[in-house]
Amino acid sequence: MGKRVTILAVLTLAALATVLAVGCQRGGGGGEGGELRIGLSISTLNNPFFVTLRNGAQDAAKKEGVELIVADAQDDAATQQDDVQNFVTQQVDAILVNPVDTQAIVPAVQAANQANIPVLCLDRGASGGKIETLIASNNVEGGRMAAKELIQLVGSGPVAQLEGIPGTSAARDRGQGFEEVINGQDDVELVASQTANFLRDQGLNVTENILQANPNIKGIFAQNDEMALGAVRALGDRAGSEVKIVGFDGIEDALNAIQDGRMNATVAQQPAKMGSLGVENAMKVIDGESVDKKILVEVKLVTKENVSEFLQ
């Protein structure tokens, strides 16, 4: 008897929590029937970059007068497959997908293809199925930009690189662009290149370790700002002055660090623009217009001179 009451109480609480959660979400911006609906399957909202991307898409959707349904896959490829499948079942008019994994997303894309729902990729592509377009930052060019800036800042001497999650296209492309420029000259030498998985705490630990083996390092390129900020923490007072730090992404914390002089530069992506371009191009596809197969969102070098333009 007592157990049954407990179970009942738990179920009631769970139901209440669900209603509450749904209610909170609806408060944001509900949609009435009849209007166009676009599904946005995002790899993870556990990362400020993708939160900004979603916000950009939401703003564009509001402007265009369409309903945007957002699903967060929490960096799990299987969850994302279900999310996209749910969009297909709901018969949305277009699907924007920011894949967790370029390979694992293929079956979900094919399911949408079969239901004749157009699919657009954001930030990362899909290695199969029919994609209308891929909207992504020019990561290779960004890596080159970062290398040129770091060479100019350092002049000559040893530098290190903090790599992103091994095997991801962002890590690969940024590393490729960076190493291409670094290997093409003799003044600055890349003496250590280690992964910190795009995370700030690992950026801190790995930088400390690299400094043990290479105490005279003059500069660090981190393949994202989170790791760069970890490096800043590891270097303490030397960050930005004795040891130059260049990041990638242009998140708010990094922009503040550049303004304070703890970081020297970052290659800013435009996640909000990526999100809004996603919605705008989805509308074009729905209207039957053709779109480019690949839309490169330009990256911008942020230094102390122009950082105020990026800080709101």
């Binding site: 556990n46 990362n47 400020p48 091994p166 801190l204 400390e208 043990q212 083996a213 923490r233």
Partner: protein, 319 residues
């Protein structure tokens, strides 16, 4: 007690400290391979880096000794950090209040784990798996998915400061938490109950231990330790991150098991756990010093974990 200690032969002491030998061998190998490894600076560096995982693993030791498992510690660490960050950076509460709220959030999450297990009759694996998801979700809800700044100066100093110019504060905090864990496991009623429940839950119940109450204590302690680890990580990063502690539970469990504890309960020590955390830390540090490729690092870490636990269990079986 003294007579038991006297009867232990030197050979047994040697074999009982299997994890310690593993650590020593690892250190010797790293010293040979890298000239930068065995320096005063680098050793404190390793100590600082493992402090967060070690505190998490010490809390996990209570749980594993009592025959349970706590998968939620990484998320609870993140939640505690975010609650603390929110309290200082957004709500502008005084530092002591923010600390109480942050660490309290960790302990509360642990208590809820305990309630789900005892009142809700859920297996620990499921109850803490649910908390892993819920606590991470709450951290994201509270923070809106973005890092919370600024963190007050005294806390930032805890992350990067040192005592007498060389002893890093995170290492000191880790040693204090280790001493507390030793004290609880060895000299309190709750500690003895953990070994008893982990050894044989039914027998403990029959001999008059209030198993449910003891389990509540166990999981609350684990949550409390995760909360303290959350404050420390926030201090180290000078920023409260919603994704802080992501997958840390795996490192924490690995540290406890490498340290000689048994996942079936009843066996495990605070010192073993600390050595387990050190083995993981020395390995990561050494692989960085040697500039080993990221792909191979993961393989090596996996192999060492398997090897460490396997030699321990094989040795036990032989006896």
């Amino acid at each position: 007690m003294a007579s038991v200690a006297e009867r232990i032969k030197p050979r047994e002491i040697l074999s009982r400290s299997g994890p310690l030998w593993g650590l020593i061998i690892l250190c010797v190998v790293m010293t040979i391979l890298s000239p930068y490894f065995l320096t005063f600076n680098n050793l404190f560096n390793v100590g600082t880096q493992i402090a967060v995982i070690a505190i998490l693993a010490l809390g996990q030791t209570f749980v594993i000794v009592s025959g349970g498992i706590d998968l939620s510690v990484g998320s609870v660490l993140g939640l505690a950090g975010i609650v603390f960050g929110w309290a200082t950076a957004v709500a502008n509460l005084p530092l002591p209040a923010a600390l109480v709220l942050g660490i309290g959030a960790g302990a509360l999450a642990g208590l809820i784990n305990g309630l789900l297990i005892t009142l809700g009759n859920l297996p620990p694996f499921i109850a803490t798996l649910a908390m892993l998801s819920a606590a991470r979700g709450l951290a994201l809800v509270i923070s809106g998915g973005i890092p919370l700044n600024p963190i007050p100066a005294p806390i930032r100093a805890l992350g990067s400061g040192d005592l007498f110019g060389f002893l890093p504060l995170p290492v000191i905090l880790m040693v204090i938490m280790w001493a507390i864990t030793v004290g609880i496991l060895r000299s309190t009623y709750a500690g003895r109950c953990m070994y008893a429940i982990g050894g044989n839950e039914e027998a403990s119940r029959l001999s008059g231990i209030n198993v449910s109450r003891q389990k509540l204590i166990v999981y609350t302690l684990s949550g409390l330790f995760a909360g303290i680890a959350g404050i420390l990580l926030t201090a180290r990063l000078a920023s409260a991150q919603p994704q802080a502690g992501f997958t840390f539970e795996l490192d924490a469990i690995a540290a406890v098991v490498i340290g000689g504890a048994s996942l079936s309960g009843g066996v495990g020590t605070a010192s073993g756990t600390l050595i387990g955390a050190l083995i993981l830390g020395v390995l990561r540090n050494g692989l960085n010093l040697l500039n080993v490729s990221a792909f191979w690092q993961q393989v090596v870490i996996g192999a060492v974990i398997a090897l460490a636990v396997m030699t321990d269990t094989l040795r036990r079986r032989k006896r």
